[in-house]
Every structure is written in structure tokens, then in C-alpha cells.
Symmetry: D2
């Protein structure tokens, strides 16, 4: 029997702008990464999303991003490690206050978008991020790309880390995701996507685009939260794991 | 023998922009209200200001403001009490994370500018602000205009409050500050300013613009932090209190 | 035979956030008020919306708002007339550049949300707005609440003005809209709404909440652009006017 | 006899924040690059700076930057050419409106900071920027690093370009500036700086860090606007050119 966590980006609405089907997707995932106002989210959205996650028994994490609302935090920016440290402290603290205000505690931190991708490859940036999280609360769990510089940095500073894998993305022989600019970056076939993720969870291997198996840790799976298809896939992946005797539960409850 | 706290707004720089003489003024005040990124301040400025205040043994407070950087939080905005609650939680949490990261704890919260002034008169807004602070940490002390709706709301929700007075502003018979639009709003004469504040601290009275005394609580005095004159006045007020046997110390150390 | 213009707020999306059914509603309206990046919109959305409006032969106007993205420009702010002047120049210029880049010219300016409402009642604010528009281009037409301080200010500074009326809002005896906080602010019944607006266009009168007729000029009608019902109403109002021999056409083409 | 333009970044203040000695430096330069609200500047600062430049007879240019106020537009961002096009149109239009409102016309556009540096090396980004400027007004002059991709792109789309050189930066053999991360990036000695720039203007050559001369066009010189030393250098360079019979005048007046 194995275990796996399902995480999803949530609380990405902003003011009058709505994104995501937070209420629905919270029925399927076990960890919620809540935007903190830099790339998405605002104080009111944060409060509502925290409340909703708690009602549904879903663990809460901060989802800090780059200060780029118009780009949704998806555009790389040449920030220094010190700036990364500072913006992670700020955003984690802001979300933590909403969680504390509801009498609960936060489980994890997962950097968003370009910050996540930059950190996956940059040891100095990753270490700054990990140190920021540790400084705010050493019990927080760092979610990062499986086997990347980010999870390595988390382990180095003494944080518990969760290795994240993707069901709908193909992998390169070095464990990185195939760039979205490449034709085979995405796995469209839902069966194929589930089989890839099931094998990662059960066996700890994934077949890369180079047709070679590599070892991969799969503590948590990234689930998309927008669109009907995403909801269907979230439900199906959850049922699929049940059939396979994989227990779906939040990282820190294991 | 009496006690009084001296507080000052700090950490108001932003990116390449510098405001205030934080390093110098921290030698004279006992409580620092640090901007939280909405009306002034940014994550890096917040970290540096927290570190500086701790080095100088000055107590730290969050200084949440309206989301109006270009207006420096000085323009009233028609926000709802719920929005006030949410933006206070967010900003207090963000600053608290920097304080925690340095192994310290926060003393107080003082709303900034238009938020402070709106709250002084609006019981619903004040109650939302007080509840936000209480929800994040019931030990935090709320700084508000002496005798205003804000201090009343703090007391109502169970927070310890510090009644704030101004040395360089004249008072109305209802205890409010004379509007800056009026000719006699400011006390320019430094001796007169010190005498007013000394009387508030020692006797608990202030003479209003209507030439009548009113009772006023003076737990903490607002000190300005920009300009050489401000520094001189801060030093003089501190020495003046020493001569008068008034102990200048941070609120929570009393 | 009469004439009337139908205007709608458009280009309110922002980055990854989508609002409104711009493509559909442009088939029914004759004037598009395009957000300019302060309360909604971003440079890419502005370019796309300008292009779309031009393709559909709809006249373009700038829709400047308060600098309050999270509040969608709907929260009053205590800005000075000078600040209003400056922010209108800025936003009108930004939109005009996109229109010029496509080889076209702009028809009008309509302030948004709280700026529109504040201006309707405040002669100084209105005059600053009208002067800003005139300074950028005296040929621009100012859209403002019919008979309000804003249209008065436009006329005073020498701008052509378009008096705007609402089909789905009730009126007070002084010509102002019934506040949304009042129970009878909105006209839900579509027939009743059309009848009100038809009478305003044909006869120049509206029956107020005080059950008394007042004179009202109706040069342009505000049409909502979000939701299926809005689309249906836009189509119906357009057909209704055709039946009544009211020509629906953009202000400056008359 | 030769000609040269002196340009300086201006209007970089923001709200309560002051940067630069705009009033003083305008006595020495012939072209003012005015920030447009993305990396620095706000509508009120833009208006004041435009007015001041016109009073002093200095030509005005837009200085569009990346949307990164906290980073002052100095951090590279992975924006697309389309996004660059859009943000340049927006900012150029915003500034142009202030210039038009004063009855004047704009001379040039110079991208700021990271946008300038990215464009110097990236032909697609440069072409997008040049096309944006051309679309708004084909008479505008593009200021770019001498001999870079940006000036090439300007020439390609049909804009008049001004090749910019730096007095206080050393050059590489490919005509690029030595990176600020390198020890010899800056020329501290004011005489040496003036000699370098004089030779560029008079002879069209500069000695690179590799001790080899390269040809370089010097239409305009970047002057810094902050600090007393900058003012002194601006005055000295202007006097130095006079002695050498080089006429200092704005590009479009030549």
C-alpha cells in the first residue's frame, strides 16, 4: 500500500475577477496551494479560500509568486536570492495570518509559476526560498519539483520536503519537465497520464522522452483546478488510486 | 512618576525610493510602526527595518495602510469593514513573519494615515480592524487616537490599547484633532508643543481650540521621523521627559 | 424619428483574468468604453479590444478609472481635482495611442465607476476631468450622467457632451440615480426598463421614484456587457428601437 | 564642428517619494527621458516634469520601462515581443498626452533599464519596440545603445535613431558595455570619462577594454541626474564641449 497527496493551486481570483473552480476541486484534493497576492489572490480571496479549505478538511499551503499580477507570476524575473527570501517571508506570513485567524495551522509552501521553475534549477535561489520558509516556521513542508534544486535546498536547510510530480507533463532524462515549447510537453491522453503517475507513485520510476526509465519520488501530484475536464480528471485520479490501494492523504497527516 | 511611549512611523522607503531617517530616529523612540507594503514599504525594506529596530532595542508594530502607494495611504477610500479586516490581517501577518524570522515578537499594530483617521470616527470600521488584530494575536496592543472609536473598539474586542496623542497638533472639544485644513491645526512652537504633551502625560488634560480643558489619555506620543528638525525634537522631547521624571519606555515593557 | 447611442464598458479583462463578453456585445452597441489599466484592463487587453471594436465598426472611448484594481474602481477615493486631471490625461493618452496605432481616432471619454459617480456630484472634480479631456483633444465627446455636474462641466469647458441614461436604474426627483443601497434602485422587469428608456429617448421625460416626471436628456444608453441576460437585453433594446423608428448610432456619426 | 545631444532620465519620483534633481539637471541637458509610470513616475510627476522641461526648453522623450516599480525596472523579465509592443504603446501614449496637453510635441523614446538592455541584444524585442513607436508616431526618434540591436531595429522599421554612448562606462570589443559585474565597468576619473566621450563624438572611435579601437556613433550622451557630482559633471561636460567647438543641442533641432 502506498500514499500520495493531491495538491492544487487555489485562491487565484482577484477583486472582481474570478479564476478556478475552488469549491468543486476542494472535494478531490488533499492540499491547497493558496495564492498570496503577488501573482494572484487578494486579502479577501485569501480569507475566503482559507475558510473553504478548512471546511472541506483540506490542508493549506502558501503559494508565493513573483510580483507580477498582469503576468500571473509566469514570467521569469531576474530577482536576487535576497529578494526571493524577502518576498517569500512576506507572502507566507500574510497567508499564515489568515490561517491563524481561523484557529488552524499551515501545512506547506509551494512556490508558484516562474519562481517554482527558476528555483528548480537555481541552487542559490532555492536555498534563499528554503531559508525563508524555515525562518517563518521550521515545521512547514516545502513542495518542489521532484529531485530538483528546490527539494535539495529544502533538505539542506532542514525542512521536510514533498517531491512533486506531474501526471500530464513528460519528463527529460535529467528529471526535468519537457519544456512547454516542445511538441511533446503535454500528455493529453488521460489514461496515459494516469498510468504515468500511478507508476511514479507505486514503483518510483518514470519513462522519459528519451525512452529510458529514471527514478523519481512522488509524494504529491499537481492537479489543475480550472475547467470541467480538470474536475473530471481530479475525480478519476482519486478513484483510480482507490482501486489501486493507494491512499490519498495530505502530506503531514501521513 | 509617569510613563510614556514614543512611537514613530518607519520602514516607509520603497525599492529605490528612500524616505525617513530610520537609523537616527530609532535612537529616540521606543516603538516603531513599520509600513507593510500597501501604502509604503516593500518586503526588503520591512526585513531591514525589523532588523534595525531589534538591534536598537525598539519594540515593533505593524503599520497597515490602505492599498494606495501613489497616495501614501493618505486618501480616504470607501472600503467595507470586511475589506478592512482582510487587509489588516494580511499586512499584520506579513510583518509578523519578518519579526518571527528574527526570533522576536511583535508588540503592536497602528493603522496608518487615512485608515487611522477613518477608523477614529467609524465604529464599524474600527471594530473590524480590532477584530483582525485580535484574530492574528490577542496579545497585540492596538495604537489608536486617544479616546477615539478605534481605541474604544480595541477595548471592546478585548485588546490592550495604547491611547495616542500628538504634540504638534491642536485638539477640538470632542477630543478630535483639528483638521489640517484649519489654520491652527499645527503647533509650530516647539516649547508649546512640549508643554502640551507634558501636560497630557502628567495631568491627563489638554486645552482645546475652544479654550476649554478636556481629559485625555496619553500612553504613547506620535513622533515624526523625517527631517533634521524632527530628529532634534525627538531628542529634546526625550530629554524633557527625563528632566520631568517621566520614564520613556515601550508600552509592553511597562 | 430620433437617435440614440448604445454604450458599453469593455476591455475589462486583466492578464489571465477574463471579464465580459466583449466580442458578443460589440454586435449590439455603437460606442465602446475601454478600460485603461487603472481599475481594469492592461496594455494587451486594450490593444485587442481596440482592434475588435474597429473590426465591428464600433466607436471607441477611453474609460478612465480610479487607481484601484482590486476594487475595480468602484470605491470612492478622496482624490484632488488635480489628481483627477492627471489620471485622466494619463489614461486617455494611453488608450488613444492604441487607437492611433490602428490608424483610427477616438470618439469619447466616459469616467468609470466611483470616478463617474463622484464627478456627477462634484463640480470641481468634474471640471478637472473635463479640462483634462479638452487638453488632450477638444474634439473628444464627454459621456456623463444626464444633467449632472459632469455634463455641465463638459459644456462649460467647451466639450461636446453626451447625456447618459440608464434603462435599469430608477431616478430621483433631482435627476440622480437611486442609490443601489435603496430597495428600488434597480428595474428588474425588462419591459419596464425598455419603456423607461424609450420614453426618455422619445419624449425626454422619466418618472422618478417620487412619482413625478422630470425632463431628462438621453443621448446614450448604458448597456451592461456581462452575462447572457445582458446580451439578450442589448439585442432586444436594439430591436425595440428599430420598431419605434429610433435610429441607433454612435454619437459622433450623427 | 560637431554636434551632440545630452540626455538624462527624469521624472522618476513617485507619489511622496522624490528621486533626482530634475530642476537642476534640466539646465544642462538637451533631451529629457521622462518615466511613464511603470518603473517610476506617476501621472502628477509626469505632468510636472513635462511642464518643467518645456519651461527650460528641453526636448521631451518617453522613457518606458518594465512593470516593476519595486525593482525600478532594472530586473530583466521574460516578456514577449507582443507584450513589449503593448507596454511601449501604452506608456508612450500616456506621456504624449501630457505633452499635447501643454501644446507641445514629443521628440523621442528611450526604453529604460532592463528593457533597454534586453532590447540592445534581442532583435525580436527591439523590433517590437521600434514598431510600437512607429505606430504611435513615425516622427519619434528612437534612442538606443549605439550600434545595438535596438538602433538597428529602429532603422529597419523606418524610425530616425539616435545612437547613445556613455561617458562613464567602458566598452567591449563588440560595442557592448562592460557588465556592471566586472571590476572595470565604470570610469570613475572624470577627465578620462570626458576624454572618452569627446573622442567618440569627434572621431567616432572608442578604445575598448581589449585595448583595441572600435568605430562608434555618438549622437547623444547619457547623463546621470542624481547627486551633486552628477550635476557638476553635467556642467563640466557641457563646458568641455563648448571649448572643443562641439555644439550641444537636441537631436531633432539639428
Amino acid at each position: 500500500m502506498g500514499f500520495v497527496d493531491l495538491n492544487c493551486d487555489l485562491g487565484e481570483s482577484f477583486g472582481a475577477y474570478k479564476i478556478g473552480m475552488d469549491n468543486e476541486i476542494l472535494d478531490y484534493v488533499t492540499s491547497a496551494n493558496i495564492a498570496c497576492g503577488f501573482h494572484a489572490g487578494d486579502p479577501s480571496v485569501m480569507r475566503k479560500t482559507v475558510t473553504l479549505a478548512l471546511e472541506k478538511g483540506v490542508q493549506i499551503g502558501a503559494h508565493p509568486g513573483l510580483p507580477d499580477l498582469v503576468g500571473f507570476g509566469r514570467r521569469s524575473m531576474a530577482i536576487s536570492p535576497q529578494e526571493a527570501y524577502d518576498m517569500v517571508i512576506y507572502q507566507v506570513g500574510a497567508l499564515e495570518a489568515f490561517v491563524k485567524a481561523e484557529g488552524a495551522s499551515m501545512q506547506h509552501v509551494k512556490p508558484h509559476g516562474a519562481l517554482y521553475n527558476m528555483a528548480a534549477k537555481d541552487p542559490k535561489l532555492s536555498e534563499a526560498i528554503a531559508e525563508a520558509i524555515y525562518a517563518v516556521d521550521p515545521e512547514l513542508i516545502l513542495f518542489g519539483l521532484s529531485g530538483s534544486q528546490l527539494t535539495k535546498a529544502g533538505e539542506k536547510v532542514g525542512l521536510r520536503v514533498a517531491h512533486e510530480v506531474f501526471s500530464d507533463r513528460t519528463y527529460q532524462i535529467d528529471g526535468s519537465l519537457t519544456s512547454r515549447k516542445e511538441p511533446n510537453a503535454l500528455i493529453i491522453d488521460k489514461d496515459k497520464a494516469f498510468k504515468q503517475v500511478l507508476r511514479m507513485v507505486k514503483e518510483g520510476y518514470v519513462k522519459t522522452e528519451q525512452e529510458k526509465d529514471i527514478a523519481i519520488k512522488a509524494d504529491t501530484i499537481c492537479i489543475h483546478g480550472d475547467g470541467k475536464e480538470a474536475l473530471t480528471f481530479a475525480r478519476d485520479i482519486r478513484q483510480g488510486f482507490q482501486v489501486e490501494n493507494i491512499v490519498v492523504q495530505a502530506i503531514r497527516t501521513k
